[in-house]
């Protein structure tokens, strides 16, 4: 814009500023960057009209172009610098993420890498057993570290929280607050104490990135800066890339840990299974070798030796059946049921009678209470297995105390209760005893494959029934099986 004589120009004659300044002529030249104006070079002359002649305007335009190029260059340089810093951050965090499969260590390292260049403070909260737990945090100012810990301890992130982290968790979408005003701080806090802590931390720009892997929100990465406008869409894009990598690393670490646990359980099972099989094989082998070598005379000892051998082969068959049964359940083939009319009370009595030898050895008695026949349509063989497993457990862990069994029926449901007064099951083990390979006691103390109750539950559930346990350490355990009398669904 070139104004030769301000006083005679209709646009500016009445301008109070120009009047007060006594401006006679003026020139304004835009400073351009490719597609938009970055600013204006502005000149006034209060001595002369028509001070800005064509050659002067031309000179100023050249100057303006030079300024535009310089600004363009420095902006490009800044952008490149930022992009490089972003790449470096990604490279550093990727290196940290691939260093170990222990994700607690990993996220702590990532949090430390993010301050102070990318954030003044940050926090990583992860979903552990359905609850959000702060896994790592960092503050550029070590003196303020405890504030973040206090913030999370007193005001944990929950999906319903009004904070950016809560919002990210709730929606699974990233949240960018380029400029955070006090109004927003107040809106994202629960109470005055909360607000006081947040104000002390002083976020002026914030991002919250959900950590998502395979569609599942694993946690949230919250980044804050004390500089207003620090975070824009380009920072958000970088943070999202970072979030994806962190999520993948966490998922990998979890899968690895689960695999390790599964391998541990399998190894333990193999060790227990081999011990369980070795015991009957030992008795059987020594019995047979004693007879074959002639060391054990066949005349008087034979019947007893054969009984022993028979018992041990029976034991081996049961162990193998258990393993195969679990294999079938695991493969998803399920349990094949052949329902027929069965009197549960009589079935339990028969199973208890079959345990005669074991009972005598455990110096233990079983009292069976059943007001009358309890009939239903069930798989006889499978229910025998259920009763045998529950009774053997009661014998094994019953410390020789009397075992009480009750078989009743009410409203179309048959109920079997097996109660012992033995060592009992610790409260923390109780919810898991029906799991595969679980046992309430160390495997080096009590034999068995750790499959008995798992099989019991599978059989009962396949009949449309349910099984549960109650127990007190040192007082004994009680197992209750409910079965619909009309049989499996």
């Amino acid at each position: 814009v070139v104004v030769g004589d301000v006083a005679r120009d209709a646009r500016f004659a009445a301008d109070p500023y120009l009047a007060a300044a006594g401006t006679r002529s003026l020139l304004a030249v835009p400073v351009r960057r490719v597609d938009r104006a970055l600013g204006v070079l502005y000149f006034e002359n209060d001595q002369l009209t028509d001070a800005f002649t064509a050659d002067r305007v031309q000179m100023i335009r050249l100057l303006s172009a030079g300024v535009g190029i310089s600004i363009e260059n420095s902006l490009l340089f800044e952008e490149r610098h930022r992009a490089e810093a972003g790449l470096r951050l990604l490279a550093d965090t990727s290196a940290a993420l691939s260093e170990t499969l222990d994700y607690e260590t990993t996220v702590a390292k990532v949090a430390r890498l993010l301050v102070p260049d990318f954030a003044d403070f940050c926090s990583v909260d992860l979903v552990v057993d359905g609850k959000l737990v702060q896994a790592a945090y960092a503050h550029a100012d070590p003196a303020k570290q405890p504030l973040i810990a206090e913030l999370r301890a007193r005001y944990p992130v929950v999906a319903s929280a009004p904070s950016p982290a809560g919002q990210a968790l709730r929606t699974g979408k990233p949240v960018l607050l380029a400029d955070v005003g006090d109004e927003q701080l107040r809106a994202s806090c629960h109470d005055a104490d909360h607000l006081a802590i947040v104000r002390a931390l002083g976020p002026r720009s914030a991002m919250a990135i959900p950590l998502v892997s395979a569609g599942r929100v694993l946690g949230v990465l919250a980044l804050s800066s004390v500089t207003p406008g620090r975070y824009q869409t380009s920072q958000l894009a970088l943070a999202e890339t970072l979030g994806r990598r962190v999520a993948v690393a966490i998922e990998n670490a979890r899968l690895y840990r689960e695999a390790q646990e599964a391998i541990g359980v399998r190894d333990e099972f193999l060790s227990v299974a081999s011990h369980e099989l070795r015991t009957p094989v030992t008795a059987l082998k020594l019995t047979l070798q004693g007879l074959v070598t002639g060391l054990v005379p066949v005349d008087d000892k034979l019947p007893r030796q054969l009984q022993l051998a028979e018992r041990q082969t029976g034991r081996m068959s049961r162990l193998i059946d258990e393993m195969l049964c679990v294999g079938r359940i695991q493969s998803g083939a399920g349990i094949e049921l052949v329902p027929e009319p069965v009197d549960l009370a009589q079935l339990v009595r028969d199973v208890a009678e079959g345990l005669g030898g074991e009972l005598a050895r455990a110096r233990c008695t079983i009292a069976i209470g059943a007001p009358g026949p309890v009939t239903g349509r069930w798989d006889r063989g499978k229910l025998e297995q259920v009763a045998a497993n529950l009774l053997s457990n009661a014998l094994k862990f019953g410390r020789g105390q009397p075992i009480e069994v009750a078989v009743t029926e009410a409203a179309g449901t048959a109920t079997l209760v097996v109660r012992d007064h033995g060592i009992g099951i610790a409260g923390d083990r109780l919810p898991r005893i029906f799991e595969r390979f679980e046992r309430a006691v160390p495997s080096n103390q009590y034999g068995g494959l750790g499959l008995g109750l798992y099989i019991v539950r599978a059989i009962v559930v396949s009949h449309g029934g349910a099984v549960h346990a109650e127990s007190q350490v040192g007082r004994g355990s009680s197992f209750t099986v409910d079965l619909p009398c009309e049989g499996p669904p």
Binding site: S271, T279, A283, L295, P297, V441, N444
Partner: protein, 124 residues
């Protein structure tokens, strides 16, 4: 026939019975126990015990427990212990058993007898 008797310790009655039969028919006196505690009481009450053959995995006081108690007691310092175990052993467990004779279940009859004989002869 021998100067002492063999104490068998196993929580499995059939294993106890078959080894007891074999050893008795081979001329040894045999005592049996089904836990570490019971075995320790027997050893302390009976100075004729010349060898303890013990299973490692037992409910309550197990074979490891018995070995530790015997090792702690100066009066039992010379008592030989033969471990008869079906459990797979970790490296650390094998190391701990380095000074003991270890027989792995299922043991061969002639190995069992040779081990008992050798140990009892050395003892007498």
């Amino acid at each position: 026939v021998t100067t002492g008797c063999v104490l068998l310790v196993d929580d499995e009655p059939d294993v106890l019975e078959v080894i007891q039969t074999i050893l008795e028919l081979s001329g040894y006196a045999v005592l049996t126990a089904t836990s570490g505690r019971e075995a320790l009481d027997l050893v302390r009450a009976n100075d004729r015990v010349g060898l303890v053959m013990v299973d490692l995995m037992m409910p309550g006081t197990d074979g490891w427990w018995l070995r530790d108690r015997v090792a702690e007691d100066p009066a039992l310092a010379d008592l030989p212990i033969v471990v008869l175990s079906g459990a797979g052993l970790t490296a650390a467990q094998s190391q701990a058993l380095a000074s003991s004779t270890v027989l792995k279940k299922p043991v061969e009859l002639h190995v069992l007898l040779a081990t008992v004989e050798r140990t009892m002869r050395r003892r007498s």
